[in-house]
Structure formats: structure tokens, C-alpha cells
Amino acid sequence: MRLLVVEDDPLLLRSLAATLREEDYAVDTAADGAEGLFKAQQNTYDAILLDVMMPKLDGWAVLARLRPACRTPVLMLTARDAVPDRIKGLDSGADDYLTKPFDGDELLARLRALIRRAAGRTSPRLDLGDLAIDTAARRVHRAGVEITLTAREYSLLEYLALHRGEVVTRTELYDHLFDEDDSTFSNLLDVHVSNLRKKLGHDLIVTRRGHGYCIE
């Protein structure tokens, strides 16, 4: 999953990005509203963390310009905790609202919920036949036995599973699994797919030549 974090405090931005990357998200950063808006419009993200009080363009302005064209879930982070501010945030198009200081684990859980909801899922568990994917714990079990995957492998599997039934193009996979700082060779994607097939079976991921991959 790829996230965009828009926060003007550099230390907090760094800390948040590091936390999220350690949770195997690909993270892009923006230090002000204008940069954040630009990146949000240029790239597709699975979720956006948006601070409210920022120079150049504040969070509400970014949201106003982003919607309705962009349907990416947005979680607002702010020091403003008064009820009118929360209402304003949610009514402006935010999907969730967290006030500072917040608990890091809560942030992660809410992000997961946002992403799950955006994919039309209601439960953190994805079942593919006898394969059970726990998106909260980031673990995969086949018939009760855990299968170890690398972070990249898991992310790829999770993305394909969340978009089950859809053909996911390679471009889309690049966009959602790697952040802007990642310089990877396109082959890497194939390697991950190949590894997944080895671990989970060749029938799981179907290649649509010329289009992309799909889990049916």
C-alpha cells in the first residue's frame, strides 16, 4: 500500500514516515499543502494522512480541491480538537479525524480500516479458498499453517487479494507498492510474483498477458 503524508513539522513528518515504512507501507511525503495537493493529484495513493494547519494551503483547502475527483481515503491529523473543527473536517470530505497527540497504534489501525473500507471489505480477514490472510497482523495461513512471506511479497498478495476479481496492471502495482524514493527494476515485480507462486501455489495468481495480474 502506498500512502501520502502531508505534515508541515519536519520532525513529525520524518517520524510518521518512518513508522509507516516499518509497517511495510510505501510512503511519500509533502511538507506543505501545495506540495501535498500536487502529489495527491499526480499519483494514486491508498490513503492520505493530512495535517490541517499548514503553510501555503491548509488541510481543508487541500481537501476541497482534491474532492470529488479523487476518492482516496483521507485521514486528517490535527491539534484542533474542538467539535466544530472535527465536524468541519469530516464534512469537508475527510474519512477520519485524529487529534494530536495520538497513539501510533491507533493511527495504524485506523489506516487499515480506511484502506479496507475503500476496497469494499468489512473484515480484516481475507479468505481465498483455504488461504487465510490476516491484514491486521499481516500474516498468511494455509489450512491453519502459517506461511512466511517477505514484506514485499505480502504487500503484493494483499493488494491483489483486496482487488480480487479485478485485473491489476503492473503500473498500478508499481504505484501502490513502491514509493517515489524507490528505484526498482521492473523485474522485481515478476520476482515477487514468482516467489508467491512458489509459496502459495501456481493457481493463485493469474497472469493476463498484456494486462496484468489477477486473483480470481
Partner: protein
């Protein structure tokens, strides 16, 4: 009211009752006295009249048939001593009986022998000795009033009458007077109670309003009816006090809100970093880096807290510290010297143009003000090689100093707002670069407390000049 003696109304009533009682008593006693004196004069008048009829009767008794001249008193005396005068009928008629109001008499010679007396002469009367020079005396013996006089030579007379009727009537008069006095006193008490109540009522109203205000409703105020009475003035004073209290509490609330708001982001950083680091084992380098981040953030919080406290002290009643006569020039020179290393690091030059400028101010506060302005000028420079000029001098209205830089300037739309707390024009970064957002707010508070002004001239790209003007020495 815990006891009767604490209540203002009751105390008023007690005093009023006591004073009225004394007045009524004095009046009653005086009236009684006057009436009694009048009665006595009347009685004595009748006694003298009786004495005259006694004399006349004696003269008739001693006049022989056919004599027309009046008998001389000496003759009467002689005749009396000789025992030759019987009690005349008319005298017996006049001086007899024992009904209330009876009269009696007795005549004595020099040795105290009774020569002639009326039948009803009370035995208990004290005899007199005619030998002594007797002045006429009137005395009251029991229920009788007597005149004792020395008549013709060597003759003493006691003439008296029973005054029981008069005493009765005086007693009745006394009781009526007493009852009347009591009635007047009671009426006075009732009237006084009502009057005291009316005067005290506004106090109860004020007290009630003040309790409500003190209980939390700080926007309410006491009604003053504009009559400028003593209670009205009290209401005004209390209202002013509540205004001041409200102002102070609002400032406190503002401070608390500002502090907690601004501290949220640094606290978030601390929580985020520490939570992240603790999730798994880290290399010493990672721990070091996280520690550094936490330390920098804590430093930032400390600076913020100090700035907020400084600001709240400027807001406080003491208005920022004691004043003394001081000269701006050495203060500014000191500030420039302190900030020189910072300027050097930024590649900036600090120049001064300081003329003596004495005023009445708190030197420490002025130093903070100047330091904030010069520090800002140094921080907001983007290019090395710039100049920051600090100048001061006397002005027609007092003294002034200025801090001018040739940095990026402040946009016109930001200029009205820069002195607000936590206002950050876009170029300013958040507190992680050392800015609390309070520097100019503090500067303005200090300038205001000294009765001065702070103003800014700036154009984007053309530098900035802050000017602080302070009133001169009074008088």
C-alpha cells in the same frame, strides 16, 4: 446571620429601641414632674387660703360683741395662752372630718404646748418648738401636706390637709402617661423596623448578585440604579472588581488554551518516535537518532513554555516588573553583543547607531524585547552578507529604537497580524527551527506595558524595519 447581635437590622433596631425608650422615658418623667409641681402649687394655694381663714376665724372669735376693730395678733396670742379662746364654730366647721381632703390646724406656744387645735388634728404630727426662729416651711408628711409657720411672736402654727385625692389623681395620670409612652415606643419600634428593612433591602440584592457572580456566572453584574447613593457606589466598585476578575480569568484561559494547543505537535512527535523505536530491537545508531529527535523536541517544548510564561507575566497585574530610569543605548549594545555569534553563523553583519536615550522602564523586559527583534532579523535572513542595523535615540515624544534588516521582508497582508500569538506568515517554519511564534507577541506586550508602541515597515524583498517608541521620563 448567626446571632441576633450580628444582624445589622437587629442592631439598628436595638439601638433605635434603646434611644427611643430613653427619649420617651425622659418625656414621661418630665411631664409627670411638671404635673405634680402644678398640683402642689394648687394644694399650697389652698393651704394658704385655709391659713387666712384660720386667722380670720381667730380674729372673729376674739373680737368682743360690738367691737369692730380687728384684734391684733399679739392679743390673740395672749388670749390663746390664757386659754380663753374656745374653738370657734366656723373653724370647727372648716377644719374637721377625716374624709379625703380634710384640713386641720394646731397652734403652739413657745414651749410647744398645744394651745388650740382642730378635732381632727392627727396625733402623729411632729410638734414644733416655737422658740426657734421659724421660717415658714411646707412639708409633706405621708398623705398630708402641712405648712408650719411662726405667726405672731411666740406662736407657731401647723396647718395641713390631706392630699389623698390629689395623690390618687396623680397616680392615675402616671399610669396613663406610662401607657401612652409605651404605645409611642412600640409604634416607634415598628416604624424603625420597617425603615431599617427598606434601607437594608438593596444590600440583600447586591449580596445575592455577588454570590451568583462569585459562584461562576462571571458575566453578570450588579444593578445600579444611577442614584449615586452609598449602596450604588458600592455596586459600582464591585462591578469594576468583577470586570477585572473576568479579564484576568480570560487571560488565564487564553494562556492555558495556547499552551496546550502549541504543545500538541511536539508531544505527538515524542509519542510517535518512542512508540516506533520500541516496536523492535534497534541499532545503537537508530536509538541515538531517536533520542536526538526526542531531545530536540523537548527543547522546543521548553522554549515554548518559557515564552508562554513570559507572555503571561506581561499580562499579569504587575505589568512586567519594576521600572527604573535606564538608557536604551547600553541595553541595546549588550543585546547586540550577545547575538553577535548567531549573526556570524548566518553570515550577517550587526551594525549599531546608538545615541543616549533615557526613559523609565524595566531594563530586563526591554532587553528581551530587543533580543526578540534582533533575533528575528537574524533568523529571517536567507542570504549571507546581509546587514542588521540597530539604532536608538531620543524623540520629541520620548525615546525610540529600531531594528532594520535587508531580508526578504513581510508581505503587506501579513503585517497587521504578525504581533498576534502564534501567527506564522508562510515563510516561517514551525517551532522545530527555533521559532515559538510568540516572539513578536511578547515584544508587543512589553511595549504596551511601558505605554509605548511597536510598529513595522516592510516590503516583500525590500527588508523590514521594526520601530519601538516609548514615552520619556515623566515630568
Amino acid at each position: 446571620m448567626s446571632s441576633v447581635f450580628h444582624s445589622l437590622r437587629w442592631r439598628l433596631q436595638l439601638w433605635h429601641g434603646a434611644i427611643l425608650l430613653v427619649a420617651v422615658l425622659a418625656f414621661c418623667l418630665t411631664a409627670y414632674r411638671l404635673a405634680w409641681n402644678s398640683q402642689l402649687r394648687h394644694i399650697d394655694g389652698s393651704l394658704f387660703e385655709a391659713g387666712r381663714s384660720l386667722g380670720r376665724g381667730l380674729m372673729h372669735a376674739t373680737r368682743g360683741p360690738g367691737e369692730t376693730a380687728e384684734t391684733a395678733p399679739e392679743q390673740i396670742a395672749q388670749l390663746l395662752r390664757a386659754g380663753r379662746i374656745p374653738l370657734p364654730a366656723e373653724l370647727a366647721e372648716r377644719f374637721r372630718g377625716t374624709e379625703p381632703g380634710y384640713s386641720y390646724f394646731s397652734l403652739y406656744d413657745a414651749d410647744g404646748h398645744q394651745l388650740l387645735h382642730s378635732e381632727n388634728f392627727p396625733a402623729a404630727t411632729r410638734p414644733v418648738h416655737a422658740g426657734r426662729a421659724l421660717e415658714e416651711t411646707i412639708r409633706t408628711v405621708g398623705t398630708r401636706r402641712e405648712v408650719v409657720s411662726g405667726g405672731p411672736p411666740k406662736l407657731a402654727t401647723i396647718l395641713g390637709r390631706d392630699i389623698t385625692p390629689e395623690l390618687e389623681s396623680m397616680r392615675r395620670f402616671g399610669w396613663s402617661l406610662g401607657a401612652l409612652g409605651l404605645g409611642v415606643w412600640a409604634l416607634g419600634l415598628v416604624g424603625g423596623w420597617w425603615l431599617a428593612g427598606r434601607a437594608i433591602k438593596p444590600i440583600a440584592a447586591i449580596s445575592g448578585t455577588a454570590s451568583r457572580i462569585a459562584g461562576g456566572n462571571l458575566s453578570e453584574r450588579i444593578d445600579t440604579d444611577g442614584t449615586d447613593s452609598e449602596l450604588d457606589q458600592l455596586g459600582h466598585v464591585l462591578n469594576e472588581t468583577f470586570d477585572r476578575l473576568h479579564e484576568v480569568l480570560e487571560q488565564q484561559k487564553q494562556f492555558t488554551a495556547d499552551a496546550s494547543h502549541e504543545l500538541r505537535t511536539p508531544v505527538t512527535i515524542l509519542i510517535s518516535e518512542t512508540q516506533r523505536i520500541l516496536k523492535r530491537d534497534r541499532t545503537p545508531e537508530e536509538y541515538r537518532e531517536a533520542m536526538q529527535t526526542c531531545h530536540d523536541t523537548a527543547e522546543r517544548m521548553r522554549r515554548l513554555i518559557e515564552a508562554l510564561l513570559l507572555l503571561s507575566r506581561q499580562d499579569a497585574v504587575g505589568r512586567g516588573g519594576p521600572r527604573e530610569a535606564c538608557d536604551l543605548a547600553p541595553i541595546l549594545r549588550e543585546v547586540v553583543a550577545q547575538l553577535a555569534p548567531l549573526a556570524e553563523r548566518g553570515g550577517l553583519r550587526l551594525e549599531t547607531d546608538l545615541a543616549p536615550a533615557t526613559c523609565r522602564a524595566n531594563p530586563a523586559a526591554l532587553a528581551i524585547l530587543a533580543s526578540n527583534l534582533v533575533g528575528n532579523a537574524i533568523q529571517h535572513h536567507h542570504a549571507a552578507g546581509g546587514v542588521v542595523t540597530v539604532a536608538c535615540g531620543a524623540t520629541p515624544g520620548g525615546v525610540a529604537f529600531s531594528v532594520r534588516d535587508d531580508g526578504p521582508g513581510i508581505a503587506a497582508e501579513d503585517q497587521p497580524h504578525i504581533f498576534r500569538r502564534f501567527y506564522r506568515a508562510d515563510q516561517a517554519r514551525t517551532g522545530s527551527s527555533g521559532h515559538t511564534g510568540l516572539g513578536l507577541a511578547i515584544a508587543k506586550a512589553i511595549a504596551d506595558n511601558h505605554g509605548g508602541t511597536i510598529s513595522v515597515q516592510s516590503q516583500t524583498g525590500a527588508g523590514t524595519c521594526f520601530t519601538v517608541a516609548l514615552p520619556g521620563q515623566p515630568g
